[in-house]
């Protein structure tokens, strides 16, 4: 078989990809009291898919995570971010004022805690979606140089 020389890569990557995705979630949810956050998590999630496509080819990757899904994900991220801000507006605070989210007493911190988590979730979606879209846009083009010519 032609792809035999990739066998070790494939075997190693298969268990790694879910772990990478899990690590992304860890980075996201620990973002408010350790280094990390939505941006890093989004990049890591995108990396998981990119690794998959590097090893198994771009076509299966596009089947697993279709390009339209990646693009919509980035738009969804934007909208989540904006919606948290609008939510704060509705509750009578300034735009993105997390303290206003739950109308808490002064000194309450649930707004700050959940507000930043939601916003970072939006960032995660937006970053993961756009990183993947960028990757698909470049990798999905028809190559001029065939694999044999390398």
């Amino acid at each position: 078989m032609k792809t035999d020389h990739h066998v070790i890569l494939r075997v190693v990557a298969k268990p790694l990809i879910p772990i990478i995705s899990l690590f992304a979630l860890y980075v996201h949810f620990h973002g408010d009291y350790s280094p990390g956050g939505g941006f890093q998590a989004g990049v890591i999630i995108a990396v998981a898919v990119i690794l998959y496509s590097l090893i198994f080819g771009i076509t299966p990757a596009m089947k697993a995570v279709p390009p339209w899904f990646a693009r919509s994900l980035s738009a969804l991220g934007f909208i989540i971010f904006g919606a948290v801000g609008v939510w704060a507006l509705m509750m009578g605070g300034n735009y993105l004022d997390y303290d206003a989210l739950f109308n808490e007493e002064p000194g309450g911190h649930y707004g700050q805690h959940y507000g930043i988590l939601f916003v970072e979730l939006g960032v995660l979606f937006a970053v993961a979606g756009s990183m993947l879209s960028i990757f698909y846009a470049f990798a999905g083009r028809v190559t001029e140089i065939k694999d044999e010519d390398w």
Partner: protein
């Protein structure tokens, strides 16, 4: 009038207008990029958003002008109080820019549909409108923000969207692509220089809020880091504003981008950069700061004059109408810089007045050219021959805007050039006033070449039948052309706005 607007506007819109004006296009942009269909829904959404932003900017204007001398609206993003949090700060100067940008965006998005249907592939149209709204949002953000670093973020947001928009002109002419990459390289250098400058200011003062920066910088005169930061900011924003030797990206970008984009960019993008420059020159740094005063006289004045002369000459020798207009844009930036470099309230007011007028006339000119591109598929002067007969409505509006660009009495261009000349004479710069007049003569030559071809030459192709641009295009075009006449006859409204803007810089405002 002001009271009426304030009564009609809902309370939430008044309280949150500075945030909403940014948030609306920010949210609508990605949504409209994914709307199905041939882009028609995205176009309608764009029109609605730009119309709402125009309304919001009018509310802001009413709020600012409700107090004698201009109120200052401060909006703390996320409830973090300035100077630590990001502050949106609206005063008489940036409300003028906000209104200009959103009004022009509204008009261009109305006129855009026919030209976009002709120039952009069907599957890209929704994305195109998404990118346009992001670009629009970025320009508004630059104008609204009171935070130096936030300004960079908005500047780059709008610029990146602009590179994409310019590159989309490749469907009509592949030369749009090199133009876009050149714009990208130069524009990114400009923004990066700006960031380096802000970094130096931050190192010296420890704050990024412009109002706070202005206070902290007062006791740093002679500090080398501040001077270096100032130089970087001047060069960076000068690049974005197409200040004379840094304008090389502009002619190609304007010539080959889609007509819709050219009309919008020519009227707004460089104007917003000039606003940022003015903001830094006069309200963040102070005039007493000797180093800056010297830079006004030694850099801005010569560069403004060089732009007025060199680029007007270059405009004369172009064969493409859009290229002629692009070079003329650089020359007009020279007028604005000359007014600003006077360093007096009258000079800045004249500069801002010319900024508004130039947006109105260049918007009209490029819209008329877009109409010709749509019906006759050509932008060279050669293609324009005889159009005065076959497309009288389009070309009459074009002629009004062209006369305004030259500075014929009863047009907007005359009013602002008159204001500029009187400001120059008041400071005793009679030689600069002479150069302004001479440069206007050059404008007569380059616009005259086009007008002569349009009205006095026989059509190249006698088979060309009478073919007017569609109504959707003529409407906004004539709104702008009539605005030119209106300001030319009774410019008190805009002059008042420009004077308030200059007053805000020199007396109250940020300081």
């Amino acid at each position: 009038m002001i009271d009426l607007i304030l009564q009609l506007a809902p309370a939430w819109a008044e309280a949150h207008a500075p945030a909403l004006i940014i948030v609306l296009p920010l949210l609508a942009g990605p949504i409209s990029a994914f709307l199905p269909g041939s882009g028609r829904i995205a176009w309608i959404m764009t029109m609605v958003v730009t119309a709402l932003c125009t309304l919001l900017s009018i509310i802001l204007l009413a709020q600012v002008r409700s107090v004698e001398g201009g109120a200052v609206i401060s909006y703390a993003m996320g409830g973090w109080a300035p100077p630590y949090g990001i502050e949106f700060r609206i005063d008489a100067l940036n409300v003028l820019v906000l209104m200009l940008v959103s009004f022009i965006a509204f008009l261009t998005s109305i006129f855009g549909w026919p030209t976009i249907r002709a120039e952009i592939n069907e599957e890209k149209r929704a994305m195109f409108f998404g990118a346009f709204q992001v670009c629009f949002m970025g320009l508004l953000g630059v104008a609204a923000t009171g935070d130096a670093f936030n300004l960079f973020v908005f500047l780059e947001l709008s610029s990146i969207a602009t590179y994409v928009l310019v590159a989309l002109g490749s469907g009509r002419d592949r030369r749009a692509l090199p133009a876009a990459i050149n714009y990208l390289l130069m524009g990114t250098i400009g923004a990066s220089f700006y960031v380096v400058g802000v970094g130096f200011l931050y190192a010296a003062t420890g704050t990024l809020n412009m109002a706070d920066l202005a206070i902290q910088l007062q006791d740093t005169s002679g500090n080398r880091a501040v001077q270096v930061g100032f130089a970087f900011i001047l060069v960076g924003l000068g690049l974005k504003a197409a200040m004379f030797p840094l304008h090389q990206w502009l002619p190609n970008a304007y010539t080959y981008s889609p007509s819709f984009v050219t009309a919008f960019l020519a009227a707004t993008a460089t104007k917003v950069a000039i606003y940022a420059l003015v903001r830094f020159l006069f309200s963040v740094f102070s005039l007493e700061f000797i180093f800056e005063g010297a830079s006004l006289a030694l850099i801005l004045t010569p560069m403004g004059i060089a732009a007025m002369l060199a680029c007007s000459f270059q405009a004369i020798f172009q064969t493409d109408v859009r290229r002629t207009l692009a070079y003329s844009s650089v020359a007009q930036v020279g007028y604005m810089l000359l007014g600003i470099s006077l360093g007096t309230a009258a000079g800045v007011s004249a500069g801002m007045f010319h900024l508004v007028n130039h947006a109105l006339m260049k918007g009209a000119l490029f819209m008329a050219v877009a109409g010709v591109v749509l019906t006759y598929q050509g932008t060279r002067i050669h293609d324009f021959a005889g159009l005065g007969r076959s497309a009288p409505w389009t070309m009459t509006a074009f002629a009004i805007a062209a006369l305004s660009l030259i500075g014929v009495p009863l047009t907007a261009g005359f009013q602002s050039k008159f204001a500029l000349v009187s400001a120059l004479l008041a400071s005793g710069w009679w030689w600069a006033a002479l150069i302004v007049v001479f440069s206007s003569v050059l404008a007569v030559v380059y616009m005259g070449r086009i007008l002569q071809a349009v009205f006095f030459k026989p059509p190249n192709n006698p088979q060309k039948r009478q073919k007017e641009a569609p109504m959707l295009l003529l409407g906004p075009l004539w709104v702008l052309a009539l605005a030119n006449l209106w300001i030319g006859i009774n410019g008190n409204f805009v002059v008042g706005l420009a004077n308030d803007a200059a007053q805000a810089l020199f007396i109250g405002g940020v300081r």
